[in-house]
Symmetry: C2
Subunit: 214 residues, 2 copies
């Protein structure tokens, strides 16, 4: 199955600007992308990076500088089609590039759920849409706001059956400083190594464990 | 399988004090407890509330006013034993009372994982331990700090094989205001209803969706 991995090459991870410099944010975002690509391959998926500009990665790249929703919908148009309703399209997955905790096992569960439903989706913390598999020809995305609930609504509108995939790993998109602790606790790849080498460590002195820097 | 549900009757959910009064926190904590008990029963478990004081709930109650770690370890002592190493103890589960997103399906996955490993554990956001099943006679808990990592270490020390259960629902303990949004998005029981009736609604104007009050 083709797995589209959207990736923004300009000002990535701006909500981490309190704890990482622009160059650091770019390097960390790239480490997460490489982890996600590895996990996708480990789950038997064929990743394709959907980037806002050229990027040198170990996967095919499509450049589309439009906003995320438009770029992903163009990719869904091309793969799920809009005209030929008589044929059943192949499934396509969209997995965000900042899922630093993604593992082949977690993606296996997503892909398996996508075999059994028109739309299988892993919600992100805070109501986002972190990963999904779709095979329904009319399903499209809208990433603004509480997109997970919106996507459930869109699936219902087009008559697509929907299943949620209950995963902490796929539910953890790394956007904010509090998310860095999750990477230190659970990350098994480059992103966790990058954070540790940048001086981050766990601090259990508060309510929840936080990532703090030397 | 017996499922122990620890519940604090005094000053519950103090980290929600910025958004809920003491009486409201008690009512909300109770709604979450009732949701968890329903989910446990729905997954075929036999819940027992381990409370710091008497509480009138639809399940057997054991009162133990010691700190959480001591009370849970006393329960594990009684069930997993320490003397009779020759017999294989039955599994016992410990599921926190603030897992307002818990469903029978999510707990089914935890219980099934507990059949195949000495210790099966669902980590909470921030490195906590939200739910586990143990059958190893020497496994004990220590809920301070990043307890999930500590519990992995304890399992390794006693030679218990360990498996993580990857669940957003079981990973979401409701402690802080940001967690309330998860209840509004995914909660299917009393806790979500309680929040809505108390005037909370989703607000998608910031980075992540938040729960705001009228």
């Amino acid at each position: 199955m083709e797995v589209i991995v959207p990736f923004s090459t300009d000002r990535p991870k701006s909500r981490l600007s309190d704890v990482l410099s622009p160059d650091e944010r770019a390097a960390f975002a790239r480490a997460m992308l490489d982890d996600v690509l590895d996990a996708v391959k480990g789950a038997g998926g064929e990743p394709r990076v959907l980037a806002t500009d050229t990027v040198d990665v170990d996967a095919p790249v499509t450049v589309d500088d439009r906003p995320l929703t438009d770029a992903v919908n163009a990719a869904l148009d091309a793969r799920l089609g809009t005209e030929e309703r008589d044929r059943s399209p192949e499934s396509v997955a969209v997995v965000m590039a900042d899922l630093a905790l993604a593992t082949p096992a977690a993606l296996d569960r997503l892909f398996a759920a996508g075999h059994d439903a028109d739309v299988a989706m892993a919600p992100g913390r805070g109501g986002g849409t972190n990963a999904f598999v779709a095979s329904h020809p009319e399903f499209r995305v809208d990433y603004h706001g509480a997109s997970y609930l919106d996507h459930r609504g869109i699936a219902a509108e087009v008559g697509a059956d929907f299943v949620a995939v209950d995963s902490h790993r796929l539910g953890t998109d790394v956007d904010e400083p509090a998310d860095l602790a999750e990477v230190l606790i659970h990350g098994e790849g480059r992103a966790g190594t990058w954070l540790r080498e940048a001086g981050f460590a766990l601090d259990a002195s508060g309510g929840r464990v936080a990532a703090v820097r030397d």
